[in-house]
C-alpha cells in the first residue's frame, strides 16, 4: 500500500485534464502546460512543508526532462542528476525516471539507471490515466525510492558525500 504521507502529498498535487502524448500534435501543448502547472504547485508545496527535494526542466518540446534531486541524510545533502524521456505512449504509460550516476550501483534499478518501482505504482498509474502526470510520478515513484535506497547506498559506502574527504561518487 501507499503510505499515509505519500497519500496526503499526492492529494495536494493538482490532477491533469488533457489526455495527450507527444505524438498528439496540438493537444500536447495544453497537456504540457498542465504538467508544468502541477509541477510548480508540487515544488511550492514541498517548499512550504520544508521538504524541497527536486528541480526539473524540459527541452522546448517537453519530450526530454532533466534536473536534480537530493536527499538529506544525517544533515548531509546528497544530490543526483535525474533524467527521463516522455514515451510515445504517455500518459497511458508513465515516464521511466532514471538516475544515471547510480547505474550499476544498486539492484533496485533497470539498465540505464532507471529506478525500479514498487508493485503498487503501475496499477495506481493505470487507474489514474490521464490525471496523473510527471509530478505524480515523482511523488509516487522517485520520492519513496530515494527514501529507501539512498540511506542503504550510503550505509554500504557506495554513495559518499561530495563535500567530504573522499569526495567522489
Amino acid at each position: 500500500m501507499v503510505d499515509e504521507a505519500t497519500k496526503s502529498t499526492l492529494a495536494k498535487i493538482p490532477l491533469l485534464k488533457t489526455k495527450a502524448g507527444p505524438r498528439d500534435g496540438d493537444l500536447w501543448i495544453p497537456r504540457l502546460k498542465e504538467e508544468y502547472q502541477a509541477l510548480i504547485q508540487y515544488v511550492q508545496n514541498n517548499k512550504e512543508s520544508d521538504n524541497d527535494w527536486f528541480r526539473l526542466e524540459s527541452n522546448k518540446e517537453g519530450t526530454r526532462w532533466f534536473g536534480k534531486c537530493w536527499y538529506i541524510h544525517e544533515l548531509l545533502k546528497y544530490e543526483f542528476d535525474v533524467e527521463f524521456d516522455i514515451p510515445v505512449t504517455y500518459p497511458t504509460t508513465s515516464p521511466e525516471i532514471a538516475l544515471p550516476e547510480l547505474d550499476g550501483k544498486t539492484a533496485k534499478m533497470y539498465r540505464g539507471g532507471k529506478i525500479c518501482l514498487t508493485d503498487h505504482f503501475k496499477p495506481l498509474w493505470a487507474r489514474n490515466v490521464p490525471r496523473f502526470g510527471i509530478a505524480h510520478a515523482m511523488a509516487l515513484g522517485l520520492g519513496p525510492w530515494l527514501a529507501v535506497e539512498i540511506p542503504d547506498l550510503i550505509q554500504r559506502g557506495v554513495v559518499t558525500h561530495k563535500g567530504s574527504d573522499q569526495a567522489k561518487s
Binding site: K17, L56, T118
Partner: protein, 401 residues
Amino acid sequence: MATIEELNKTRVELREKLEQETRKVQELKGTAKREPIAKMSAEVVDSNPYSRLMALKRMGIVEDYEKIRSFSIAVVGVGGVGSVTAEMLTRCGIGKLLLFDYDKVELANMNRLFYQPHQAGLSKVEAAERTLREINPDVEFEVYNYNITTVDNFQHFMDRIRLGGKEKDKPVDLVLSCVDNFEARMAINTACNELGQSWFESGVSENAVSGHIQFIVPGDTSCFACAPPLVVATHTDERTLKKEGVCAASLPTTMAVVAGFLVQNVLKYLLKFGQVSYYLGYNALQDYFPTMRMKPNPQCDDTHCRKQQQLFQEREAAKPKVEVEKVEELAAVHEDNEWSIEIVSETTAEEAQAAQGDVPSLTHGVTVAYTKPVQQEADSSELVSNTELSLEDLMKQMQSL
C-alpha cells in the same frame, strides 16, 4: 629403440594434432566460414545446413519449406528471449531479420543463452548480428541500436516495420516483441495498431517462473491495450513475494521455453502448418500451459485498435460465407460479474462492476495484473486550473523556483 609400430603411432598422433591446429588457425583467421547458399537443397549430405529442415517437406509436415526465405521478421528486444528467438530463426533460414535494442552486452547477462563474455561492452544488436551472420550468411540483417519508445526513434521504427520486408518497400511479415517492460510493449502495440501489422507479444515474469506468448492480429484479436496486462497464475502468494533488494530474476530455462514457443508459432503461421496459438501461457512451477483466444475490446483505449476492429468487421462482411470451424472465443470484456464478488444487498451489480472495472473473461490459470475501476468524476477543485500563462511563461516560472 622405438619399434616401427611405436613410430607409426606417433606419426598418427602428430598428424591429428596438426589437423587440429590447422583448424584452430582457420577459425582464428575466419576462413572456416560457411559460404552463402543460393538455393535451399534437400540433399542429405553433411555439408548441407538445410537438409533436416527440408526433410519436413518429405515427411509431409510443411508443404513449401523454401518459402521461409521470402519472409522478413522484426525482433524487438534481443535480450534473454529475443536473442534466442533470432538465433532459431537464423538457423531455420529466415529471409531477413530486423533487430532493435538499445542495450549493451553485460557480464550480468551471462546466466542467459546466446551472448558470450568476450562480447561484453558491445551493443546487443551488433554482437547478435556478428554471431548470427557466422551461423547463417544467407540471412539479411538490419540492426538498430536505439530505444523505440522515444519520440525521435518511434517514427523510424514504424517506417522500418512498414518498409522493411524482404521485398523492397513491403512491410515485414511479423513483429516479435521480446522486450522486458510495459512501456516498450505499449509502443509496439501502438505501432502495430496504426499499421495493421500482425505481431507476437512474449514475456517472462519478473520472478522467472512463468511466461507467455500472444498472437495479436489488429482488429481480429484482443490487442495489448484491450485489457490490463495478463499474468499466468503460479499460485505463489504475490504478497509474500520477496522483491526487497532486487528488480527481477531470470532463468535461461524459462526464457528458452518461451522463445521456443514463440518461434514454433511463428513457423506455423508463416509456413502454414498446425494451429497457431493466440495465447499460450507457461506456468513453470506446476508445468501448466493455459491457452485461449480473446476478442478485441470494443471500448479499447487505443483509437487505432477500434479503427482496426471496424475495418476487420467490414472485411468479414465482404467475404463470401463459408462454414468455419467453431473456435471458442473469449470476450475481452465480460459484462457479468466474473469474479464472483460477494454482493451485499445495498450494492447493485453495476456498482460492484464499477468498483472492479471491466474484467476480461479468461481461461483457467490466467489472470489480470490489476483491474481498473471506473473513474470517478474528479472534483474541479482537484484539477489544474485554466491558465492565461503561455508554456514559455510556465517554463520560466519553474526555472525560477
